[in-house]
Structure formats: structure tokens, C-alpha cells
């Protein structure tokens, strides 16, 4: 299973973290629980320093981290030692393609300002650290449907507030 998904920039800034196993925000001495800060520190050190020709897998604390670089962003997924590393590379690419389709040639800034949308998309691809959908089209359709639900609710809200505003004028 995928234990967590991490997007970090070339500079080591976090752009997205999604945890499917327990973790702590602050460092604690408990060994079994991963700590966000130390994970990011360690992984940035391990991954950002690797050369371009090297393999996309890093062994780390008994797990494997599969990473792939897209422009200035590193997409990392931490998997169990006996998972299929090559497939996880495909999952990363699957995610990136869907982001790309959604944002229209996605860039780091899209993911910063619309980070919540990136999370929504990820939630349509993975649940409980397992793959949910192999069809990009289906994911796009589901996200679009939910976005339009939100839009409709917004319009409704603004039309109601318009009515109230007009009534109270």
C-alpha cells in the first residue's frame, strides 16, 4: 500500500502531503509513527540530491520511496518494501496526467494556489493507500461533476443573498 504521498519542490518546500498511515505533525520519539517534519527533512536530503540518471527508488526506514521529477516538482510515494515500484511510477504519472488535464498544462503555481483541488483529484485516485480508478476520463468526469455542484451552490447562495439584499433595500 501507499503510506503517503508527498509533493516537494526543488527547494524542499512541501506542496502536498497525504497520509494513509498515522503520522505526527511534530517530532516525537515514537518510532512507529512517522513525523511529518523529519520525513520531509530526510526525504528532501535523500531525493533532491540524486542525479538524473539514477533509479527512481530510494530505500528509507524499511520503506521504499518512489519519486519522479516533473519540472521543479518531485512527486514521491512511499510504499511497503514488497510493493511494485514500477507500477507506482505509473500511478504517479497517472496522477500527473490527470492534474495536467484538469489545470491545462499544470505548473507548480497551480498546485500552490489550488492545492485543495489537487487534493480532491488525489482523493479520486487513491483511497486507503490503494488505487481507485485507472481511467483518467472517469476521474475528470467525477471531479467536474463535483465542481459543478459547488458552482451551483454558490450561484444559489448569491442569488439568495441578492434577493435578501433587494428585499432589505
Amino acid at each position: 500500500m501507499i503510506n503517503f504521498v508527498l509533493l516537494i519542490s526543488r527547494q524542499g518546500k512541501v506542496r502536498l502531503t497525504k497520509w494513509y498511515s498515522p503520522y505526527t505533525q511534530k517530532e516525537r520519539t515514537k518510532v512507529s509513527v512517522l513525523s511529518l517534519l523529519s520525513v520531509i527533512r530526510e526525504l528532501s536530503g535523500l531525493i533532491l540530491t540524486r542525479g538524473p540518471k539514477l533509479c527512481n527508488f530510494v530505500e528509507w526506514r524499511g520503506y521504499k520511496v518512489v519519486y519522479r521529477r516533473y519540472a521543479s516538482l518531485y512527486f514521491c510515494m512511499c510504499i511497503d518494501a514488497d510493493d511494485n515500484e514500477l507500477e507506482v511510477l505509473e500511478i504517479i504519472h497517472h496522477f500527473v496526467e490527470i492534474l495536467d488535464r484538469y489545470f491545462g498544462s499544470v505548473c507548480e503555481l497551480d498546485l500552490i494556489f489550488n492545492f485543495h483541488k489537487a487534493y480532491y483529484i488525489l482523493d479520486e485516485i487513491l483511497i486507503a493507500g490503494e488505487l481507485q480508478e485507472s481511467s483518467k476520463k472517469n476521474v475528470a468526469r467525477l471531479i467536474a461533476a463535483q465542481d459543478s455542484l459547488v458552482e451551483a451552490a454558490k450561484e444559489e447562495a448569491s442569488s439568495i443573498s441578492n434577493i435578501i439584499a433587494q428585499a432589505t433595500k
Partner: protein
Amino acid sequence: MDLAINPFSSGTRLRDMIRSIRACKTAAEERAVVRRECAAIRAAISEGDQDYRHRNMAKLMFIHMLGYPTHFGQMECLKLIAAAGFPEKRIGYLGLMLLLDERQEVLMLVTNSLKQDLNHSNQFIVGLALCALGNICSAEMARDLAPEVERLLQNRDPNTKKKAALCSIRIVRKVPDLAENFMSAAASLLKEKHHGVLISAVQLCTELCKASDEALEYLRKNCLEGLVRVLRDVSNSSYAPEYDIGGITDPFLHIRVLKLMRTLGQGDADCSEYINDILAQVATKTESNKNAGNAILYECVETIMGIEATSGLRVLAINILGRFLSNRDNNIRYVALNMLMKAIAVDTQAVQRHRATILECVKDADVSIRKRALELVYLLVNDTNAKPLTKELVDYLEVSDQDFKEDLTAKICSIVEKFSQDKLWYLDQMFRVLSLAGNYVKDDVWHALIVLMSNASELQGYSVRSLYKTLQACGEQESLVRVAVWCIGEYGEMLVNNISMLDMEEPITVTESDAVDAVEVTLKRYSADVTTRAMCLVSLLKLSSRFPPTSERIKEIVAQNKGNTVLELQQRSIEFSSIIQRHQSIKSSLLERMPVLDEANYLVKRAASTQATVSSVKSAPAVTPGGPLKLPNGVAKPPAAPLADLLDLSSDDAPVTTSAPATAPKDFLQDLLGIGLTDSSPTGGAPSTSTDLLMDLLSIGSSPVQNGPPTSNVNLPGIAETKSAPVSPQVVDLLDGLSSSTSIPDENAAYPTITAFQSATLRITFSFKKQPGKPQETTISASFTNLATTTFTDFVFQAAVPKFIQLRLDPASSSTLPAGGNGSVTQSLTVTNNQHGQKPLAMRIRMSYKVNGEDRLEQGQISNFPAGL
């Protein structure tokens, strides 16, 4: 809503907040912005602001991602989830998944909302709830909500089904007992056409098999056929743009099905046979020019290795791995190495064929590949190939990265120890490893090396010469230096005289002073640590006895450390100087070669210490006083700890176990010299034999006989005349100058003088004196008076005290007591009562002396000490 109502107003939009955080140039600026935003959000929360609740939540999520605490927003998630609208719920659930995890109590509060949303008419709201539950649910929630999720597995909407299936995975992980409830629903999902549902269902089945044997059996019976059909369909399917990756239709589904097949086929011949054909088809037909195809092949090989496959299928799998291994893509090579580790169990010979390639991978530029390859090589080593493989690895050690040396060294040492058939080979390999990567060699490894050398008498000469040569070349490798210095100290004369030369060896010319030079250089090297330096001092001390002409020089070198700021070194040099200077007569026997170390015991101990961390607490030496010491100059330790204790200097600081007598030797010298006295009568009974400590120490003494002639006579300066109960200061006395001689106290002390002992012939009085500020310590001035009419000669006074008291005896003023009370002999004793105020002093005493050449012995117990001592 009017912004003016709320001064904090959550005024900035999410976009603006992100901008202002990104504009920060320093971490401090960023903290300030975040603090301001958090304050605004807290204010909005406490006012119960509703309009901006979801915006605040989005901000909190961003702040959380930066690593700041956001716990105060947790309740807001619950409020958003409880709201009616989809947009609020969407952000609320996202916040829930980000800001909370299963260990937080707050999470329990959301169970009810989740239950409602799971039953909602809107499929997207059901989807949100399933997603949240699948990502963060705890065991309690899993139990509470499992029936809802189970029901949703039969929902009409495929998107709800797939989410419910994955959510069930989480539930089963948290509560494996629930697995049986899901198995029939999971099996029926495998008949679906929707790929999302299929993938989720296959994964759920895999999880159920892990959780329950019953589910495993059920699925073996009920879904194998369906699985084969799914795999056949998907691998035979023509181009399907929706699922196509690199010319392959839905590799994800391929892989998940193969994985489930592995689980089902493991240890089950019928199942394995049933899937044989389809596996062969996938293994032969899948294109391997793209990553997706290779991912499938990789999974397929793993499944073939995992099940009871036919030999033909296994050959196919191993061949795929061979192709992988020769691939130029590092990812493919990495997984090949990974897979070969598993293949070893199945077919070692087939993996051995790739040995050369694997060995090349150990030298790869990529650390991930190197690590994998090294693990694999380690598994491939056997008796026949150990030597060439070790040579390759050691050669590589020379050029490898610093980071990799530690792993590599550990593996080489392990191989060398495991497969050494002859000692010479072992020594040669170890010397090379020490010289190339001595800094990475673990302590237990070089300890084992020393134990082995100590046992291999025919190779000691060769060892010391090789190490001497290596030391000249690689003086920076800590472990090498230690081993070399130890050997030079022990086997110095073999170095200088080329003793026990091996045939292939070139004689070398090393003078005595060269050997001393080598150790001196090491001692003075600035990077040497305390242990190494201490070992150098011991080595020098030993050399001073091996090479008497260098003794003066060694004395000077040792003396330079007398002022060392490290207590350990300072103490050693003072002690050693004293030995070199004053105790010529005992030096040679004191500094003899160490006895052969017990190899079997060391191995046992090493194995034990790798399990439990090495405890530095030493048990007290258990050498019976008076018994002949077999080790003239060695470890007077329980045999379980032969080497480490001798070398483990740090353990000198360790607390002495309570089983040790009160005078347990903390003194290094005592350890070194092998003096160990156990208090055989801890309650204070006088020892029944008069123990000649020094004699035992040198193992030259016949064991003294009770009532025998006093063995005292001490031909060494500074040895206390009194033989006594177990007292460590004896050693201190040996060195003299370390113990401050206590002056005889004046009579007008605060405590009354007592008559400690009175017989027809002898009277002993004690007077007491305390140093101010040391309530525990009492100086007793004993005065012995001869009441008989004949002079006592060779008078010896002995005393024994209970455990909680420490006793030190100073030399008596004379050993002759004049007759008839004409003058007396005095002796001072210092006692330290460690339980001062709780227990009174108590002491047993024994006096031996000669009357007209005839031995006399008197004993007594003193219990009338004044209170307050």
C-alpha cells in the same frame, strides 16, 4: 455580510494569504504572517463565524502543510461536515483528512455525521464520506460503520461501489475479524465490467485473504475463474484509449490481478496449476519496451516465484529477470536485483549464473542499486565462491564512496567470518579491510580478530609484522590502529626478531625502538581517541618489559601523559610510570603476554550482546582469595567477559553491581593486574586465611596456611604491612604516593577512647577522630599493648568490616611489641560508613604474631564503638 462587523474579518482571501506567505523572505517573516492569520482564524472560530468557515478551513490546510500547528481548527471540520451543503462538506472532509488522524479523540465525534452521509441520497456526498472513512478511520469507527459500507458495496453506482470496496480495505485492516462479512460481496464485485470497481474489488480480495484464512479459502473456491477471465480479457483486449498506457490496456488491473493470484496460489497446488497458463501467456506476450509492460512482467515474475509454479514457468521467470538485469534502465535493474533476492530461495543456481553482473551492480553509481546488489551478493556467497567474491568486494572497498563503506565493510567482515576456512586467509582479509576501512569496522569484529590471533600462536608473528607494516601506511584507521597497537604490545619481540616466519613472508628489519616509535606516533596522533591512547599506553608498558633498553624512553613517553586532562589517561600514566620506575622486580611477570583468550566464550558473549545491547556493567571478579591464580597477568574476570572487559575501558566508569563487595575494584590497575578479591565473608568475619595479596598477584606465592608464619614480609617499598580483609587500597599502596598517609590523630577527640580488645596477653585501644565535613569517615587510631612478659614479633593486625563500610589500613608503626606494656605499637585505620546514621560500626579483628618463634593467633569482635560513627 459587512466586513466592518468583524475587525479580524478573515478579510484576506485564501489567494492573498498564499501570496503574502510566498512573498516572505525569511522564516521569521513567514511565522509572523502565519501567526496573524491564525489569530484571525481563531477569532472567527470563537465568534462562530459561518460565512468564512470554509475559507478559513482552506487557509488552515495550507498553514498545516507548512508545518504549523492547526489543532484549533479540528472542531471546525466537524461543523463543516455537519452542514447541509455539498461545498461545506467537501472542504470539511478534506480538512478532516488533513488535520486529523485516527489517533485523535475528536474523530469519534464525526462518526454520526459520517453515518448520515453514508446514507445520503446524493452519491457525491456518499463518496466524500467513504473517502474520508477509507483514509482515516479508527478501529472503533470501523466497527460502527462497517454495516453501512457493506451495504454500499451493492450500490447501483459503480463509483460508490469502488469507494466502498477500498473503504472496506481500511476497515478490514483495522478490524480483521470483520473480513468474513465482506467476502461474498467482494467476490461478486469481480463480475463487474467497470475497471475502477474491478481494481478496487481485487484489492479488497487481496486484503481479505491476508486478514482471514476462511476468506482465503472462500475466494480460492469462488473467484479464481473470474480472475483468470479478467486477466485474459484485459491482456487480450484491443486498443482501449481510456485505459491505455504505453500500448497496454490497464496495466494497473493486470498488476492487481496478478498480485491476488499470487496470494491465492501460494501453497496451493491446484490453484497454481489453474493459473499456470494465463501466467505463461502474460509472461511471454507482454511487451517490455515501456515501463508499464515491465511493471506487469515484474509482478508476473513475482507471482510465478510465489506460487507452486511448474519448472518451465520458473525458467521463464528467471529469464525475464536475466533480461531485466542486462537492461540499461536503472529502474529495471533495481527491480531485477530485488526480485533475484526472492528467486534465490527458489533456484540458487539460476541466480548464481548472474553473479558477475550482480557484482558489477555493487559498483554502480546509484546507491539504491549498490545496496540491493550488495544484499544479493551476500546471499550468493558460499564455500566455493567466498574467496573470489571477497576479493572483489575488498578491491571495491578501496574505491567505493564514503557513504557506502560502512555497509560494504559490515558485509565483508560478516562474509570473512562466516566462510573463513583457514586462519591465514581470515587474517589477510581482515588486515586489508582494517587498512582500507578501519574506521567503519565495528568493535565486535576487531575484538573477534584479537581473540583469534591470541589463539593462533603460529600466526602471531606474521600478524604483528603485517599489522606493523600496515600501520605505517594507514595510521588513520582507528580499528586498525587499535589492533596493531595491541599486537605490538603483546607480540613485540616477534616483530623485532622475525619469529615464526611463514614461508611466503619477507623478513623485515624492525628495531626495538622502531616498534616503540610506532606506538608513540599513534599515541601522539591528534585524532586518536581515548580508547586508542589508553591502548597505546598499555602497549608501551608491555614493550618496556619486552625491550628493557627502551624502558627509559617509554617512561618518558608515559610520563608525558601524567597531566592529561582525561582522567583515564592520567591515571594510567601515573600508575604505569610507577610500575616502570619502582617495581622492576615484578614488572616482567606483571607484563607477561596475555593468556590465550577463550574463543568459544567470546563468541557466545558476542552473540548475546548483539541481542541485548552490551551492558557495560561488570560483575565483580570472582577469584577466590588465596587460591592459586592461573593467569599470571591477565584477566581475572569471570570468563564470560574475557576480552571486552580488558579492552573496554569505559566500563571502568560503570557502576559496580551490587553483588560486588564494598571494595569492588574500580581501579583500572586492579583489573589490569588481575587482582580480584571477593569478600568471602561479607558480614565482616575475618578471612580465615591470611592472604598474601601480592604473592597471589604474581602467582608465585604458596597459598598461605592458617596460623602459618606471617607471610608479610614485604620487600617492596610502600606495601602495607597488614594483610587484610578485602581492601582495594592495597593496590594504591603498591603504587604509594597515591594514598595520603593519615597522621596519627590526637587523643582528645570528641569520641571516647575504647578498649577494643583485651586478652591475657594483648590489649588494643581505639581512639577516634573525624574530619570536619565528612561525617561518614572516621580515622581510628589503634594502639596495641603487649601485656605478656615476652616480646611479640611479626605482629600483624587484620580487620574485616561489613559490606557497607569501607576500611583502609595504614602501616603499623612497628611489627614488634615490647613485653610488659613497655610502649605500644600504633596503627591507623580509616573507615567509611556508607550507612552513617543508620547502622553502627562493627568490626572483626585478628592479630597474629610470634612469641619466641611460635605462631600465635587471637581473634575478636568489636561492637562497643561509640554511637555516631
